[in-house]
Each structure stands twice: as structure tokens, then as C-alpha cells.
């Protein structure tokens, strides 16, 4: 009997210590969405169960190891106990009760996480090996003053703070997965068109920039498939939309820079001279580019043009082929390509 009392005390102590540690240690990233609050609350519950059951078994075990070990010169066997149906029933029923309750709160937290807000704005997320692209629909003034919707693309996911957003997830090739640790949310992105579009609802509550990272292995550069998410105040967000949706009436190079932004070129090409996934653009124009077939070409406008619309035509030495998306010919207008080239030329 005395043994039981001692062990029970030890179990309680160890549970409390372990529980306090788990609940207070910085084990989770910053909490940047309303959904995260619910999730973290549930984590809190789990920590305590983990603390309890781990202590329960381990403390009992260690206690037995210390107290019930065979002393020097001791002979004979342990106490003859074959079991106890009463105990067995207890430790079947109690866990059943616990898991049922767990399942219940599991269900309620899930519905919290998925609660819909009618005001939610919509963003279309396009995933392809290995880039993210985000499309917004914005109302703009047409010639006749009527408002028409134009779609704008961006390589960063810009979100208004404290406003629920519905992310409609499209994949253009294989399965990817949308994951922002700070939001505590994840949803696979399926190929196959409308029928396979999945939605993810998130309500940011912290301004700042985070990273969306692809969480489902999707081939060679899966690890590098990331884009930045910036949560900004509503006003700033609206301004950004307007600015993006406006016709680009700056100089060619400036427009080129914007397209390079929005079409995700800069995800792979630095303009600072460092090598990301693709060669840097700094000083590219006019330079002698070594190709993987051993030859070299001078990077004139024409070469750069082909490199954009048909990347695999010439592969730069030391870089994999088939990495750069093949479909920019469709995605970009000829004018945009020209402007991007102008931008690249400006990088000397």
C-alpha cells in the first residue's frame, strides 16, 4: 500500500513539472492567425495528457526498477499475481472516456478552425513545380466608368489583417501543400481543375511577413518551394491592390521589374549577384554565358528572349534543365517579355 502512495505522489509531481514545462516552453512558432489560437488551445490540452500518461507509466516503471529489483543473494520469485479484472476494466474504461472527450473537443476545435466569415475575401493560389502564384480579382474603372474585374498576379501573398481570406488552391502539375506554420494550417493542393480545388480559410491577426512553404513532397526542388506572406493593415492592402491593378505606365525597365516580381522570376533569379535556383541577372546582359554543352553564347536580347520563352533551348552550365517553368510564353505577353528584358539589361 505504502508503495502506491509514494508512487502516486511522484506521478503527480512529475506530471505537474512536465506539464508546466511543455505548456511554457517555446515549442510553437508565433501565433499569427485566429485559427492558431484554437489550435494552440488544443495543443495545451494534449500537453497535459502527454505529461500525465508519460509520467504515469514511466514513474511506476522506474519505481519498480529501483524498489522491486532482485537484491544481492536474493533467491526465489516475485509475488504471485496473475492479474485483476477490476483493474483491467478501470484502465479500459477511463481511457475510453478520455478519448471520447478528446474526440469531442477535437470536433469542436475543428469547426472553430473552419468557421466561415461571409465577409471573407478570396485569393486564388496557384501551385506548380516549384513556385507559388497568387491571383486577386480587383474591381477597376473601365472606360465607360463601369467597374470591371481585372485579375492581378503576385509572387507574394499579401493579406489584410483581421480579415478572413478564402484561399482557393489550384495545382498545375502534382500535389503540393499550402503550409504557414505561424497560421497553424495546412491544406494539400490538388491538380485536376475546378473539381479538385480545395479551400483554406485563414484570418490573420499579426502584421508581419511570414513564409508559405510547400509541405507535400513535389519533386526535386520541393524544399525550395516557398513564397513570402505579408500581413498588412486593410488600408495598405487596398492601396497595394490598386497600385498593382493599374496599367503599368512606368518606364519599360520599371514595368519589367514589376512583372519579374509578380511572375515569380525573382524567386529564382537574384538581381544582387548571388545564385538562388537560377543564375543571377546582375550583369547577365552582354556577358558570356557558358552552356552545359560546353559552348558559350553572348547574352544578347535574343538569347535572353529564348531563355524566357523556351528555357530548355539552351541550358546554362551548372544548372539543371526543366527547372525553370516552361510556360512563360503563354503566361507573359510579348510586351511584358520585352519589358523584363529591358529590366535585365538595366542590371549592370
Amino acid at each position: 500500500m505504502i508503495h502506491f502512495i509514494i508512487v502516486s505522489v511522484l506521478v503527480v509531481i512529475s506530471t505537474i513539472l512536465l506539464g508546466l514545462f511543455l505548456t511554457n516552453a517555446p515549442l510553437l512558432p508565433v501565433q499569427a492567425s485566429m485559427q492558431a489560437e484554437t489550435v494552440d488551445w488544443l495543443f495545451g490540452i494534449h500537453w497535459w495528457f502527454i505529461a500525465f500518461f508519460f509520467s504515469l507509466i514511466v514513474v511506476f516503471m522506474l519505481y519498480s526498477v529501483v524498489v522491486f529489483r532482485r537484491r544481492k543473494g536474493e533467491r526465489g520469485d516475485g509475488k504471485y499475481i496473475t492479474g485483476s479484472h477490476r483493474l483491467e476494466i478501470v484502465w479500459t474504461i477511463v481511457p475510453i472516456a478520455i478519448v471520447i472527450w478528446m474526440a469531442v473537443i477535437g470536433a469542436s476545435t475543428l469547426s472553430d478552425v473552419e468557421r466561415r466569415d461571409p465577409q471573407a475575401i478570396t485569393v486564388d493560389v496557384f501551385a506548380s513545380q516549384w513556385v507559388w502564384r497568387f491571383e486577386y480579382e480587383v474591381p477597376v474603372q473601365g472606360e465607360g466608368g463601369e467597374t470591371i474585374l481585372t485579375a492581378i498576379t503576385s509572387d507574394t501573398l499579401v493579406l489584410p489583417n483581421h480579415r478572413q481570406v478564402v484561399l482557393r488552391l489550384h495545382s498545375e502539375d502534382v500535389i503540393h501543400s499550402f503550409f504557414v506554420p505561424e497560421f497553424r494550417l495546412k491544406q494539400d493542393v490538388l491538380p485536376g481543375g475546378e473539381a479538385f480545388v480545395r479551400e483554406l480559410r485563414v484570418t490573420p491577426k499579426e502584421e508581419g511577413t511570414f513564409k508559405v512553404r510547400c509541405a507535400e513532397i513535389c519533386g526535386q526542388l520541393h524544399y525550395a518551394m516557398q513564397a513570402s506572406v505579408s500581413v498588412v493593415p486593410q488600408a495598405e492592402f487596398d492601396a497595394w491592390l490598386q497600385e498593382q491593378s493599374g496599367e503599368c505606365n512606368l518606364g519599360d525597365a520599371e514595368c519589367g521589374q514589376r512583372w519579374a516580381q509578380t511572375y515569380g522570376c525573382l524567386a529564382c533569379h537574384s538581381i544582387t549577384g548571388e545564385t538562388v535556383l537560377g543564375p543571377t541577372w546582375l550583369g547577365l546582359y552582354g556577358s558570356e554565358v557558358p552552356l552545359d554543352d560546353g559552348s558559350t553564347v553572348t547574352a544578347d536580347e535574343e538569347y535572353i528572349h529564348t531563355s524566357i520563352v523556351d528555357p530548355n533551348a539552351q541550358i546554362v552550365a551548372g544548372f539543371p534543365s526543366g527547372v525553370m517553368p516552361q510556360d512563360f510564353a503563354e503566361k507573359l505577353t510579348e510586351e511584358q517579355v520585352q519589358q523584363i528584358i529591358a529590366f535585365i539589361m538595366s542590371l549592370q
Binding site: 515549442l27 510553437l28 484554437t38 489550435v39 488544443l42 495543443f43 495528457f49 502527454i50 508519460f54 507509466i57 514511466v58 511506476f60 516503471m61 526498477v65 522491486f68 529489483r69 532482485r70 536474493e74 526465489g76 516475485g78 509475488k79 504471485y80 499475481i81 496473475t82 492479474g83 485483476s84 483493474l87 483491467e88 484502465w91 481511457p95 478519448v99 478528446m102 474526440a103 473537443i105 477535437g106 470536433a107 476545435t109 475543428l110 478552425v113 502534382v174 500535389i175 506554420p181 505561424e182 497553424r184 495546412k186 491544406q187 494539400d188 490538388l190 491538380p191 485536376g192 480545395r198 512553404r213 510547400c214 509541405a215 513532397i217 519533386g219 526535386q220 526542388l221 520541393h222 524544399y223
Partner: protein, 651 residues
């Protein structure tokens, strides 16, 4: 050199020949029906190579089986020739040759399984060491271009699969291969345990179907070879789950993965049927189901899962192969297929499979605890039924791997409930173990250390299950290192540690010699501590959002130190296992004689001389008591009389 006359050697030669014959055959057919046998377009060329190589590989595998001579009797029967039932080895052959030849003795087959399993463990572990080295710090350095890996692999990849070398692809390949090779290793280890132990424990002279039994082992050999060869056929970068559409685009190595795993699965199925029939029909006199040594229950529950669920991973893999070879649109969503379908078929096996990994291990724990506590197993029937319970519930939880997959939402809740329910039978086991330890007379030789260590580790793996089981938290944890931590704990606690416990425990029975206790303890502590460090690190980075299956991670996430420590810990585990193997190999030759009932256990296999003679028991014994009545004076479990040797029962 006698080796050249072993089945193994003949099989390998036959496999190589058959592979080329098969390829030639496939090519011939293409020529006949007027399809191109080569093409300038690299994409088309890849496909052509594939449809020519794959038939070769399959026929090669069959060739191996014919070569080892497994079908001999069946062919005879088919030609109406009489076949003998005397499976005894040819006394002319030296003993070592039996292990490289088709042999029908369950103990030999058990060893064959075990050694193959260790080899795979070695391969898988070495792969882990390689990619852990890459992960030790952020940035891609170890595998990078110009490393020896490129020197070794770039040519074969280029030639065989039209795949050009890249460190990322190599990492993905090694990571995926590590996963699946380790799982194959477990499946073989499970085969080793149930083949060696079940007949001994229930007092049978052999398994029910000896021919099928050795077939089940040998099919693993071509399976493993093909599986590992994928490393040279361009690898595959899909993880061990091989989700389409990615697995439809992966290089030729993908097919090697599919075929290899399929063959191993075939082995699981036939092996499992054998185990079930053996346990149901060959128990010794007086051994009712509830008087079997508890491991037999575990083996039974395992077999139930294996011989049913395995079919579906086989099917899902075949469908992927068909889609790759013939363009049948099962999973290509753009053409009417459905990628989610694959995930359901795959996990319908692969979740129950994880219980295949652990049930035998847990059986070992329950088997050894009473011996070293000198105390009855607490609640025998409950422990026995909990195995069945786990196996049963395990069939209704598969979609918990798919909470984030975008399957129909209404499926999620029921699967969450079922998933959490598994905690209950598992819990029963833990509590009963604690009950067994309570007021015992514990001793701590190496096997016991491994048992106790595995309880802690498996517990850690288990309690991290529910956070994955509740959807809201899983949405954060899915595909992070937290999951990786979870399953390494469950697999080590539920399989690796008990497996080594079993090796040390039955080592005297197998070899008639004693292992080295000091090295054994060293092995345990190094492995246990190393492992704890490794997986606590995994949990930590996982919670902070570290994704799985990435070759590199942003330095500014601040994971570098943790990853470095994890890598070091990984190497500690690796060395510890090396020490263990050294111990085994050395003691097998030089260890002190250990003939009698080393652990003074009650169970029958210890009442006969070691190593156990052919056909185990000279006379059939009779069960007259409970298996685990330690501490009950004068009780015995089995009555060996008239026994050729050994004292009746334990005192």
C-alpha cells in the same frame, strides 16, 4: 568453392540471365508489332526504356525463384510426379550451406529472414547516415555537385533513366529509400521472429507449409535487390508513400520501388497464411489458445493484418505501374482519374501495416517481462485480446494520414474518433506491463534493458499519436518532423528495441553460446540515449514547423544546432548497432557455452538442448499448466516427459 553450388548463387545467376531474356523478349515484341525501340526525343526514350526494362525485371525475379529451385516440387506435382514429404537437409552438405540454400526447417528460415533483415537495416541505416550528414547544417554541401555521389551516380542515372544528377534529387531518393528499406527490414524481421519462434513455442515440429514458407523467404531476396537497385535507376523522389501524380513522373527507379515492395508484400501474405494455419492446427497437446505463450497471440494478430491488408498496397502499386506503362488513367486527375483514390488504397494497407511492425515487438515485451520479473504476466487474456483489438481497430483509422489531403470532409471526423480509440487497447498493454513489474524480483541482463528501454520509447511514440489524431492539431503537424519523431519512436520502441531484445534473449538458444554482457549493455545505453536525443530533436523542430522531406532549410529558422546534434545522435545509434552486431558475430563463435535453461524460463523451447535439434521436440510434450505461473510453487507449464534432456518445467 562450395558457395557456387548454393541456391542463392544459382538464383542470382538465373535472375541476371532471365532479366536480359525478358528485356530481349519485350524488345522483340515491340519490333514485331512495329513500335519504336529507341527514339531521339528524350521523353519518349525514357518511356521506351521503361517498357523494355520492366518486363525484364519481373521475369528476372521469377527467374531467381526458379533458379533457387523453390518450384521444384510444385513442377513435379504439376507433371504428376510424386513428391516426398521428407524435407530434411542433405547430410552430405556442410551446415553453413543450408543457410544459403532452399531449406525447409523453420529455424533455418527464421535465421535467413533475420540476417537479411539486418542487412537491410544496415543499408537503410547507412542511407540515413548519409542524408543526416547533409541535414547537419543548412545549405547543400555534402551531396552537392562534384561530390563523389555525382561521380558514382550521374552516369548510371543518365544511361538507365535519362535522369541528370542533382543533390536535391539524390536526397529525396535516399530519404525515400531509407524509409522503404527500413520498412522492408521490419517486415523481414517480423518474419524472422514468427518463423523461428512460433513452432518452438507451440510445440510444433515445423510450420504448416514448409515449401510455402521457404518460398515466402526467398521471394524477398529478388524483392530487396530490385528495391535497392532503384538507387541506380535514377532513384525516385516521392517519399516512401509514392503518391501520384508525382510517382507517375518520377524516373525509372520508381518502378523498381513498386516491384520490390510488391514482392516483399507477396512474402508477407504467404508467410502470414502459414503462421495462422500453424497456430490453429499444430499446437501441442493440451495447449488451448489461452495457454499459448503470449508471443503466439501477437504473431496471430499480426498475420491477420498481413494476409488481408497487404493485398491493397499490392493493388495500388500495380495500378501505378499500369498507369506508367500503359497510360491507364487511374490517378491522373486531368483525365478522369483521382489522386485521392491512391491515398485511400495505400493507407488502407499502410496504416494497419504499422501495427504489423509493432505487434510482434510488443509480444516480445510481454513474453520477456515475466521471465525477468519472476512473476506472472499481468492479465494474460487482456494482453492477448488487446493485440486483436489493436489489429481490428487499426483497420478503421487509415484516413488519419489524409486529414490535410482534401478528401471528402465528412470522412474526417469518424476517422478521428477511430484513431483515438486505438489508444485504449494499447494502453491496456502498457498498464499490464506495469502491473507485471509491480512487486516483482527484477533482474537486468541486456534483453531486459532493451525491453524496459523500448517501453519508454514506444510510450513516447504512442502519446504523440493523439495530437496527430485530432484534426486541428494535425493540420499544423502533418508532414513536419513531429510526425517523423512520432513514427521513429513507435517503430524503435515497437520493433527495433524488442527485436534486439529477442536476439539477445534467444541468442543462447540459437547458437548454444552466450553473448558478451558488457558489450550488450554498451549497445543498449548508446542506442537508447542516442535515440532519445535524435527524436526529441525531431519533435522540437517539427513543432516549430520544420517540414519533412526537405534537403535544406532556411538558416534563419535557427534549426542548425538541433540538426547537428540529431546527426551526431544518429551516428551514435549507428555505431551502437555495429557494436551489437560485432558482439553477436564474435560470441556466436567464441562465446561461453550456454546449453541449458539460461534464463530459467518456463516456456518449452528452453527445456530442450540448445541449439534446438531438427524438428525441435524429440517427443511431443504436453501442456499441464499456465505459461507464466512464476512464483507459484511446484507449478509447471509443459510436461516434457519422457524428456530426452532438461529438467521438467521451471521450478
Amino acid at each position: 568453392m562450395r558457395f557456387f553450388s548454393t541456391s542463392l548463387f544459382r538464383g542470382l545467376v538465373a535472375q541476371i540471365l532471365a532479366t536480359f531474356v525478358g528485356m530481349a523478349f519485350a524488345m522483340a515484341i515491340r519490333v514485331v508489332v512495329g513500335l519504336p525501340v529507341s527514339s531521339a526525343d528524350p521523353e519518349l526514350q525514357k518511356h521506351i526504356t521503361e517498357v523494355i526494362v520492366i518486363p525484364g525485371v519481373i521475369i528476372g525475379a521469377i527467374g531467381f525463384m526458379v533458379g533457387v529451385g523453390i518450384f521444384k516440387d510444385w513442377f513435379k506435382w504439376a507433371r504428376g510426379k510424386p513428391t516426398s514429404d521428407n524435407h530434411d537437409p542433405d547430410p552430405a552438405k556442410p551446415n553453413w550451406m543450408r543457410y544459403f540454400s532452399v531449406d525447409y526447417d523453420h529455424k533455418v528460415i527464421g535465421i535467413q529472414y533475420g540476417v537479411t533483415s539486418l542487412l537491410l537495416l544496415g543499408i537503410g541505416g547507412s542511407l540515413a547516415m548519409l542524408f543526416r550528414t547533409e541535414l547537419a547544417q543548412s545549405g547543400i554541401s555534402f551531396l552537392s555537385r562534384g561530390s563523389i555521389f555525382e561521380a558514382i551516380l550521374s552516369k548510371p542515372w543518365e544511361v538507365l533513366a535519362g535522369q541528370q544528377y542533382s543533390p536535391e534529387h539524390l536526397f529525396n531518393t535516399m530519404m525515400s529509400l531509407h524509409g522503404i528499406v527500413m520498412i522492408a527490414s521490419i517486415l523481414l524481421g517480423v518474419g524472422a521472429l514468427s518463423n523461428y519462434l512460433v513452432p518452438l513455442l507451440i510445440g510444433a515440429r515445423d510450420m504448416a507449409f514448409p515449401r510455402l514458407n521457404s518460398f515466402a523467404f526467398w521471394i524477398n531476396v529478388p524483392g530487396a535487390l530490385i528495391l535497392v537497385s532503384s538507387l541506380f535507376f535514377g532513384g525516385f523522389d516521392t517519399g516512401w508513400v509514392g503518391y501520384p501524380p508525382l510517382s507517375l513522373r518520377a524516373p525509372l527507379g520508381m518502378q523498381m520501388f513498386l516491384i520490390g515492395v510488391y514482392l516483399v508484400g507477396l512474402s508477407s501474405i504467404s508467410g502470414a497464411i502459414n503462421v495462422i494455419v500453424t497456430i490453429f492446427t499444430m499446437r501441442a497437446k493440451g495447449m488451448t489458445m489461452f495457454k499459448m505463450p503470449i508471443f503466439a497471440w501477437a504473431a496471430l494478430a499480426t498475420a491477420f493484418i498481413q494476409f488481408t491488408a497487404t493485398q491493397l498496397i499490392g493493388l495500388s502499386f500495380q495500378l501505378v505501374m499500369l498507369e506508367r506503362l500503359l497510360g491507364m488513367k487511374f490517378f491522373d486527375a486531368t483525365a478522369g482519374g483521382d489522386p485521392i483514390l491512391y491515398q485511400h488504397l495505400f493507407w488502407f494497407y499502410s496504416h494497419p501495416a504499422v501495427y504489423v511492425f509493432i505487434l510482434p515487438g510488443l509480444g516480445i515485451i510481454s513474453e520477456l517481462l515475466p521471465v525477468f520479473s519472476r512473476k506472472p504476466l499481468f492479465g494474460y487474456r487482456w494482453v492477448a485480446f488487446s493485440s486483436l483489438g489493436i489489429a481490428l481497430v487499426g483497420f478503421f483509422v487509415w484516413a488519419h494520414h489524409m486529414f490535410a489531403s482534401g478528401m471528402s470532409p465528412y470522412l474526417r471526423l469518424p476517422f478521428m474518433y477511430a484513431t483515438l480509440l486505438v489508444a485504449v487497447p494499447t494502453g491496456v498493454k502498457f498498464f499490464s506491463w506495469v502491473g507485471t513489474l509491480w512487486e516483482a524480483k527484477l533482474t537486468f541482463p541486456t534483453p531486459m534493458l532493451f525491453v524496459l528501454g523500448s517501453i519508454v520509447i514506444f510510450l513516447l511514440g504512442g502519446v504523440t499519436g493523439p495530437p496527430l489524431g485530432t484534426i486541428a492539431t494535425d493540420l499544423h503537424l502533418h508532414d513536419t518532423y513531429f510526425v517523423v519523431g512520432h513514427f521513429h519512436n513507435t517503430m524503435f520502441g515497437g520493433y527495433i528495441f524488442p527485436f534486439f531484445a529477442a536476439i539477445y534473449y534467444w541468442f543462447p538458444k540459437i547458437t548454444g553460446r552466450m553473448y558478451n554482457e558488457k558489450l550488450g549493455k554498451l549497445h543498449f545505453w548508446m542506442m537508447w540515449i542516442g535515440f532519445m536525443v535524435l527524436t526529441l530533436g525531431m519533435f522540437y523542430v517539427g513543432l516549430l514547423g520544420m517540414r519533412r522531406r526537405v534537403v535544406d532549410y532556411d538558416a534563419d529558422l535557427g534549426f542548425d544546432p538541433t540538426h547537428l546534434i540529431m546527426t551526431i545522435a544518429g551516428f551514435a545509434i549507428f555505431t551502437s548497432v555495429l557494436i551489437g552486431l560485432y558482439n553477436i558475430v564474435r560470441s556466436a563463435r567464441r562465446g561461453a557455452e550456454a546449453k541449458g535453461n539460461v534464463w530459467n524460463s518456463r516456456s518449452p523451447e528452453w527445456q530442450i538442448p540448445s541449439p534446438a535439434p531438427l524438428h525441435n521436440y524429440a517427443q511431443p510434450f504436453e501442456v499441464v499448466g499456465e505459461p507464466y505461473d512464476y512464483g507459484l510453487p511446484g507449478s509447471i507449464y509443459v510436461n516434457m516427459a519422457p524428456a530426452p534432456s532438461g529438467p521438467p518445467g521451471a521450478e
